[in-house]
């Protein structure tokens, strides 16, 4: 068509119409997709649809072009006569006579061509064939439009517009269908998502288009359509973690944009280790986290410190489960965990303000996913045995040592034939080597099993995740009773979009429910230090009673039986629900409410027994107790995402929360005189008598505690290259007096993704990503009992017996504490520098952090003058500095079908107290039971030293002979050959408390973890290891003043003649400073490396691809395969200690570690 000026420059009306069509087509696809998803449409949308329908009709005709052309062009006959006319003249003549329109480009029409034609009642194609012959032009009739083009070009252009239908299926690498995958025509917004079976179909797609398949956690794949009509795609998992999203508290952030120091551990990698305890699984995977178990028993407690011990008060990190603060990692089943994020530096943790001084652990339980339902069943069964027994002397060695001790003290040997009962003496004569109590108490092949079922499903409107698990574990010791743990967990997490508009979730509702029930039975009493001369049972099959040889010692197996008849049950219910509203794009309001209910009940029975005059119970004891605790939390946050010119990204968060816990009561009672005399009937109602002094009753409220908080955070980045985060939290806590209640906890952090800079483009070939980070922040700690600012009147432990009756007492009342009205937060301030990097095409990841953490104003119960007459208040009384480095390295690659990955992490930390606010500058530990009586506590907190360092005498070997003693100039305690040479450190001529010094440090300098993963054609192999270095352990298996107690075999190396030992002095039967003074002979290095888990698995799906399940993996695994250590005790992991801040005190009474062989299966449907 000519333009108004008559210049035939461009006639593109029909072509531009086609463009319009295309645009509308896109709209159509979009609408179509929405319709599938069942969204109601507003009026505007209906109008669009109407237009779209018309276009579809139009397109229909386009596609039928040849058919329609034949109709009109065949019907129409022309009469035409032209002389020496140009082609344009021919076209316009035809146009005038008919309804045909001609479309052509002027420049394509040969200007010199002149044509003379004459036709009568002739068809258009005959005419055009004649006219265009030899011009190099061709024509195309589309209904009443005739397109003239250079020969062949029209055909191509028409093909371009040809529309195709494509369908196919998307699967994952294991062949499982992938629902919810986005399938988009590249460069457009046209697309769809795969359905529950992973299938999709798209129609009307240009043949030369490229389809893009993308899914969270998978590598995006592109396929050119070409001639294909079916495109099946298998998506590979995204191995590079840098695009991962991590939890940062009140929200998530892209890992690559995080400016603080955090680590994320996936639930899968925890579950893979097949441990009953989540904390055990975490051990090897978290640099900077010290996790030490207190014993090998099921359900053992763990001491967790992030970046060193920050206080001698409560140093546990805050645990936040699904956004709700306060939770116990011990109760969580690994199969319920989606991910664990540890906020290590102050800047990251500051969002949790007053409770973050010791770091924060964020737990997200498994969330639902849109798409096909996925069901997984994980199960394992294992048998556990003692990894390593404590090595104790047998009867013969024991008698040698006891005799030697007696001779050394009295000069007279022991006549065992009279000292021991005749039956035992004759047994010994018969070659009996005595009782190994550790072995007698053990429970060989103790079973452990775990089964968990997880179901996730959902659409993009609603998702859910259900999990159930069952765990049953027996302890490796506890014979003749079986200590056991049973745990059931149930989880239901779901998210629902309630209102969606313009592809935006306007209102979302979600909830997380987690219920765990745990039952512990027969918690073990104690591992005794009994001599090996007592058989477990006597000739009549009864437990052997105490013998006069050592009447204070009772049969440990009997004691276990008489003292471990107990059971406790824990119900832990956590629920939170949230509403999320996005009223406008980029603004999110979220309101989250959490509720937790814990219920605990326990009962026990202590039967009467008689094993000797100092070992009996003449009256039985039935005890029952229960506690119900409730807590709730409500929080509201407002988040705004702002993008300016696509370069500046700002995420701003403000929020508020209130929280109350300690709502609840406890009740307990104990009574004597059961009418049934058995544990089975150990309920208080089965005791019918009330006896003063024997009937106890107690009930109390748990102590309400409240907190109110306001917080705000800004994340800013410029082109994801310059990153900055600032946040502040303001907390008010009921633990402090009005006036000292509110604390502010600010933090700032910054990051620089150096690898985005042009000047690093040259290194792109090997350096994919490199980010520098720096952060500073302040956190608080408020873990003290409430009401420290009042002078509470205590009614406990102050009874007095007036009058003539010995059973009536007046309950005394006294001000128990000197109040401290000024008590306030403990603050930890931390500076952190680090980098994250990804190298060599994502195969290698390397990260490092350097930090300096100062904990100031500890909340401590520092000793005060006894003359002040009441308990010491908590004061803000101490500072400690932890400095350290953390490194982590990961390597993942594949060679053909062989995949492998190695990861290693290492953390180095030093701990030093810089202030304790009492004149001594020290706080003593608690004397420990394994020490000889009357001895000073072996550990302390003191300015200039690490927390809990071992405080005792240095020794300079053992006097080997009299000549050495005579030549010795310094002060000495013992003066016989075989006595220890104590060092008179202050040279005052006396060996006394002033000569005690630091003889060891229980805090490891280094904590490390390793893991290896290998995969080949369905086989997988993994091994993990962890360990510590640079710490010492106090080993006290034998009390120096109890010479008849059992002897550990290391005491066979005692001095017993010149040159026999320069460490362990001679043994004596009377107490002697040699063993009674706490000295470095008790100190041993505690370095170890433990192979925690080795697993070999095979996916049967590889063998039987037709199986109707996605994965069928079978595996065998060993836990705690081997421990490399020079430590003399059975287990260098010693968490048990008499107080929170002590560790590394091994008194030989902890349950040893178990080695577990297990077999398991993971099935995915």
């Amino acid at each position: 068509m000519k333009n108004k000026n008559g210049e035939c420059t461009t006639i593109l009306r029909p072509l531009s119409s086609l463009k319009k069509i295309k645009t509308l087509l896109k709209a159509n696809k979009f609408m179509k997709k929405k319709l599938i998803e069942g969204i109601s449409l507003d009026r505007g949308k209906v109008r669009k649809i109407w237009m779209t329908m018309r276009l579809i009709v139009f397109l229909f005709f386009v596609s039928l072009i040849h058919v329609s052309a034949s109709v009109y062009s065949q019907k129409t006959k022309l009469n035409i006569k032209l002389e020496n006319a140009t082609l344009q003249q021919v076209f316009s003549t035809i146009q005038e006579q008919t309804e045909f329109d001609f479309f052509y480009k002027n420049e394509q029409i040969p200007a010199e061509a002149r044509i003379s034609i004459q036709y009568q009642n002739e068809a258009i194609d005959v005419i055009l064939d004649k006219v265009l012959s030899g011009t190099g032009l061709t024509y195309h009739v589309m209904d009443k439009d005739i397109v003239i083009s250079i020969n062949g070009a029209t055909k191509r252009e028409m093909n371009l517009q040809q529309q195709k239908s494509i369908s196919g299926k998307v699967t994952d690498s294991s062949g499982g269908s992938l629902p919810g995958v986005s399938v988009i025509v590249k460069g457009t917004t046209t697309g769809t998502i795969t359905d529950a079976n992973g299938s999709y179909s798209l129609s009307g797609i240009p043949a030369n288009a490229t389809l893009q398949f993308s899914f969270v956690g998978m590598k995006t794949q592109e396929v050119t359509i070409g001639s294909k009509t079916t495109i099946n795609v298998s998506l590979a998992e995204e191995t590079v973690g840098i695009e991962e999203v991590v939890a940062v508290g009140y929200g998530v952030q892209k890992k690559k944009l995080v400016t603080g120091s955090t680590i994320q551990v996936k639930g899968e990698s925890l579950q893979k280790l097949s441990t009953v305890s989540t904390l055990n699984a975490l051990q090897s995977q978290t640099p900077g986290l010290s996790i030490t178990s207190t014993s090998g028993r099921p359900d053992a407690d763990y001491k967790i410190n992030i970046r060193g011990l920050g206080t001698i008060n409560n140093a546990n990190p805050l645990v936040v489960i699904n956004g709700i603060a306060g939770g116990d990692l011990k109760t969580l089943a690994p199969s319920d965990i989606e991910s664990i994020d540890v906020l290590k530096d102050a800047a990251s943790a500051a969002i949790y303000g007053s409770r973050a001084a010791n770091g924060v652990i964020l737990v997200t339980t498994k969330q639902g996913k849109a798409g096909k339902s996925s069901v997984s069943l994980d199960t394992y069964y294992g048998i556990q045995n003692v990894e390593k027994y404590m090595s104790m002397c047998n009867a013969q060695d024991y008698m040698t040592l006891v005799n030697e001790a007696t001779v050394n003290s009295t000069g007279k040997p022991i006549d065992f034939s009279t000292a021991l009962p005749a039956n035992i003496w004759s047994k010994l004569q018969g070659g009996w080597t005595g009782t190994d109590w550790m072995k007698e108490l053990s429970n060989p092949n103790a079973p452990v099993q775990n089964h968990s079922l997880n179901i996730t499903s959902g659409t993009d409107m609603s998702t859910y995740s259900i999990g159930m698990s069952y765990t049953n574990q027996e302890a490796i010791m506890g014979n003749p009773l079986k200590e056991s743990l049973e745990r059931y967990s149930f989880r239901l997490n779901s998210d629902h979009v309630l209102l969606k508009r313009n592809n935006r979730n306007i209102i979302t509702f979600g909830e997380n429910l987690l219920y765990t029930y745990k039952k512990n039975e027969n918690r073990m009493y104690l591992i005794g230090r009994d001599h090996p001369l007592l058989p477990v049972k006597d000739e009549n099959g009864n437990y052997s009673p105490n013998i006069s040889w050592d009447p204070d010692r009772s049969n440990p197996v009997a004691m276990e039986y008489y003292n471990s008849q107990n059971e406790s049950k824990n119900h832990d219910f956590r629920f939170n629900a949230y509403f999320e509203v996005k009223p406008v794009k980029d603004l999110t309001f979220k309101s989250n409410m959490g509720y937790s209910l814990t219920a605990y009940s326990s009962r026990s029975y202590a039967p009467t027994f008689y094993l000797g005059t100092s070992s009996y119970r003449s009256i039985d004891q039935t005890s029952q107790g229960s506690t119900i605790g409730v807590g709730y939390q409500m929080e509201n946050t407002l988040t705004y995402n702002l993008k300016i010119k696509g370069a500046h990204n700002i995420v701003a968060l403000v929020g508020q929360s209130i929280e109350q816990t300690g709502l609840g009561e406890s009740l307990s009672g104990n009574n004597s005189g059961s009418i049934f005399n058995s544990f089975e009937y150990a309920y208080l109602s089965n005791v019918k008598t009330i006896t003063p002094g024997q009937t106890g009753l107690s009930g109390s409220y748990l102590g309400k505690w409240s907190m109110a908080s306001f917080f705000g955070r800004i994340n800013y980045d410029y082109k994801e290259t310059y990153l900055f985060t600032a946040l502040i939290r303001r907390d008010g806590s009921s633990r402090f007096a009005s006036g000292n209640r509110w604390g502010n906890f600010p933090s700032v952090s910054a990051g620089w993704v150096v690898s985005n800079e042009p000047f690093l483009q040259s290194t792109k070939s090997w350096l994919d990503f490199f980010k520098l980070r720096a952060s500073w922040g302040q956190n608080g700690n408020q873990e003290i009992p409430s009401f420290q600012y009042l002078s509470p009147i205590s009614f406990s432990n102050a009874n007095y017996y007036f009058g003539t009756s010995k059973s009536n007492y007046v309950v005394g009342a006294y001000p128990s504490m000197i109040p401290n009205e000024n008590i306030t937060w403990e603050t930890s301030e931390q500076l952190d520098f680090g980098f994250d990097s990804r190298l060599l095409g994502g195969r290698m990841m390397l990260a490092m952090d350097v930090y300096n953490k100062k904990t100031k104003d500890w909340l401590v119960n520092a000793p005060i003058l006894g003359s002040q007459g009441a308990g010491a208040p908590y004061i803000n009384g101490g500072d400690v500095t932890n400095k350290g480095i953390e490194l982590s390295l990961n390597w993942n690659d594949k060679i053909g079908e062989f995949t492998y990955g190695i990861s290693a992490n290492y953390a180095y930390n030093t701990n030093k107290i810089t202030r304790i606010a009492n004149p001594q500058g020290l706080i003593d530990g608690i004397g420990i039971s394994a020490q000889s009586s009357g001895q000073l506590p072996p550990y302390r907190a003191q300015v200039g030293y690490p927390i809990g360092y071992f405080w005792g005498f240095k020794t300079a070997g053992v006097f080997q002979n009299q000549a050495e003693i005579d030549a010795y100039k310094g002060a000495k305690v013992g003066n016989k050959p075989g006595d220890l040479i104590f060092v008179d450190l202050n040279n005052d001529g006396a060996i006394d408390a002033k000569d005690r010094t630091k003889i060891g440090d229980p805090n490891p300098k280094g904590i490390f973890g390793f893991s290896i993963n290998l995969g080949y054609k369905g086989f997988d192999f993994s091994a993990t290891a962890s360990g510590v270095s640079g710490n010492q352990i106090m080993t006290a298996y034998h009390m120096g003043d109890k010479y008849k107690e059992s002897y550990p075999t290391y005491l066979m190396d005692r001095w017993h003649g010149e040159g026999t030992s320069n460490r362990y002095p001679r043994l004596t039967s009377t107490a002697s400073p040699n063993y009674n003074y706490f000295s470095d002979i008790y100190i041993n290095d505690g370095d170890y490396l433990r192979i925690q888990n080795v697993t070999l698995g095979y996916n049967l799906k590889k063998l039987f691809p037709a199986m109707p399940i996605n994965q069928a993996r079978l595996y065998i695994a060993v836990q705690n395969l081997y421990t490399f250590t020079n430590y003399i005790g059975p287990n260098p992991e010693v968490g048990a200690a008499p107080s929170d801040w002590a560790k590394g005190i091994d008194i030989g009474q902890n349950m040893p570690l178990s080695r577990t062989f297990m077999i398991g299966a993971n099935l995915k449907f």
Binding site: I658, N799, Y809, A813
Partner: protein
């Protein structure tokens, strides 16, 4: 404008949060709501008495026995506290911290009570005066005990936590005198036994007797004539005699007819199974007998934290594998073994004093005791003399004598069987500690007046002929009558001052002992130690270091060569 709105919103938010954050302590009262009335006051007093009762090991009773010439350390070699007290050496830098902190806790409790008096509603003037009187008595008691053991101590008269140096003895004693005088003036003059429910409470008679004891110690040790009063003036010897005569005339206290009936081994469950008491018509007068002027009372413990008389256990017969063999004793730790030279001196000096002597001393080898067997050296016993304290010991009773098989007769302490106390032998040490016995009142009266009446009344009860008054006779009488009751050492200290050690060494060195069954001679050098220390004990080192140098350690307790 917006700024102000924002500000007010913040203020309102913070205020409403503060309400949210306010909590009430439902588990404890606090000093805002306690004490408010007489019954609260009695609870506060009970807590102060509890502080008194909590100190067993390390108390003046314990130290007074161990360091004296009547006892050795005994027990095992690693029973450091008994040996430290016995030899006046450092067993542990904080060896009697228990005494220090508990008595100061008692003082704090009394001070708090006295500070609260203004806000307390009393039902009667008598109630108020009784409570005040007891409070002053207790403060006087605590300071007198602290001064007796440590010499000069910081005198704290309010609940304000302060760090002050030692107060001169004169000032502390004048405060003690004033407190006891306040007690005497306020406490009612009820006759002993008039109100059995009040047994255990301090009385006017107890205050008067304690004042006499304080007077004797202060004027003796510090060589003064009078006991000063804080408010000015002083208490003269005559005034003290008047107080004692008030006790003698008006208190209703008297001597128990038979000396042995003072002690629980004559209880109804034991006496006929025990050779020493069998068939003698003895009958224990009980814990609240007429002779008890002031005692620390013990009852069935309701928890391990409740005080118990552990001295009975610590000083009881050690190391017997079968309790029946040494019936009714044993089950103890064998601390404070009796110096055989003391028993010999007693036999020499008072050959006819058999009732008191064998009513006070267990001689395990004597047929009097009728023991089946005594195993020596049990549990690595050191400084064993086979002589034990009879007055305060664990006393047992057969629980099932009707059983035909004597081996099946159970055995337990008398408090468990007769009174229904808790079964654990450790918690069944419930014998009251008599701090002031009426015979002491009589003897103090003799000493202060230089007359023999008191002495002879006491002797008459023991079946001994009268004697005339002399200091020597008085001293002997006190040693034998009040033997093993924690008095001897402090008597020596007030009579001989820093030279008391000379007497002690003279009376005990060279005595025969068994160390872990091996015969040896006992030896100590208290002459030097008491000269160096003035006879006062080591202040807990913790207190010294926590005071940041404000409090100074007692003489003779720092430096080398003093450790055990």
């Amino acid at each position: 404008m917006n700024k102000y709105i924002l500000l007010s919103v913040l203020v309102i938010l913070t205020m409403s949060c503060n309400n949210f954050l306010n909590t009430t302590d439902l588990a404890n009262k606090n000093d805002l709501n306690f004490p408010l009335n007489g019954s609260d006051c009695n609870q506060a007093l009970a807590a102060a008495y509890n502080s008194m009762a909590k100190v067993n090991q390390g108390s003046s009773f314990y130290i007074g026995d161990l360091v004296s010439d009547d006892h050795f350390g005994g027990g095992a070699a690693n029973d450091y506290l008994v040996h430290g007290c016995d030899q006046w050496r450092v067993a542990n830098p904080n060896m009697v911290q228990n005494l220090w902190t508990n008595y100061y806790a008692g003082i704090y409790r009394v001070n708090k009570l006295l500070e609260s008096v203004a806000k307390i509603t009393f039902t009667s003037d008598v109630e108020k005066k009784t409570i005040l009187g007891e409070a002053y008595f207790l403060r006087g008691f605590f300071y007198s005990e602290l001064s007796k053991v440590f010499g000069e101590v910081p005198l704290l008269l309010s609940s304000e936590p302060v760090n002050i140096p030692k107060t001169p003895a004169k000032d502390t004693y004048s405060q003690i005198a004033s407190d006891l005088k306040m007690a005497i003036d306020n406490l009612p003059a009820d006759k002993n036994g008039a109100n059995p429910a009040r047994a255990g409470h301090a009385t006017k008679w107890a205050a008067e007797s304690l004042l006499a004891r304080v007077f004797l110690f202060y004027t003796g040790y510090y060589k003064q004539n009078d006991l000063p009063l804080k408010e000015g003036g002083s208490i003269s010897k005559q005034q003290v005699v008047t107080y004692l005569e008030d006790v003698i005339a008006n208190s209703g206290h008297n001597l128990v007819n038979d000396f042995r009936n003072l002690w629980p081994y004559t209880n109804s469950g034991t006496r006929e199974d025990y050779a020493y008491t069998k068939g003698k018509g003895l009958n224990w007068a009980g814990d609240n007998n007429v002779e008890t002027v002031f005692a620390i009372k013990y009852g069935f413990v309701s928890s391990w934290a409740d005080p118990m008389n552990s001295i009975c256990q610590v000083f009881g017969i050690r190391g017997q594998s079968n309790i029946r063999n040494a019936f009714p004793y044993a089950d103890g730790y064998g601390g404070a073994s009796i110096n055989p030279k003391m028993v010999n001196a007693w036999i020499t000096d008072e050959p006819k004093d058999t009732i008191r002597r064998w009513g006070s001393v267990i001689d395990v080898d004597s047929p009097r005791e009728g023991f089946k067997k005594y195993e020596i050296g049990g549990w690595t016993y050191v400084e064993e003399t086979k002589l034990f304290i009879k007055k305060y010991s664990l006393i047992h009773v057969y629980t099932d004598k009707s059983n035909a098989d004597p081996l099946k007769w159970g055995i337990n302490t008398y408090t468990v069987v007769l009174e229904g106390a808790n079964a654990s032998f450790a918690t069944a040490c419930l014998q009251d500690y008599v701090l002031i016995r009426y015979s002491d009142v009589l003897l103090m009266h003799s000493e202060l007046t230089g007359t023999a009446n008191g002495i002879n009344t006491v002797r008459a009860r023991a079946g001994l002929a009268p004697v005339s008054y002399s200091l020597e006779n008085l001293q002997k009488e006190r040693r034998f009558e009040l033997a093993f009751e924690g008095i001897r050492y402090f008597d020596l200290l007030r009579w001989y001052g820093k030279e008391a050690g000379v007497i002690i060494d003279q009376n005990q060195n060279g005595a025969d002992i068994l160390n872990n069954k091996v015969a040896a001679k006992y030896n100590s050098n208290l002459t030097e130690r008491i000269r160096a220390t003035g006879g006062f004990f080591q202040i807990p080192e913790n207190e010294i270091s926590l005071s940041n140098g404000v409090l100074k350690q007692n003489d003779g307790w720092s430096g080398s060569g003093i450790s055990l």
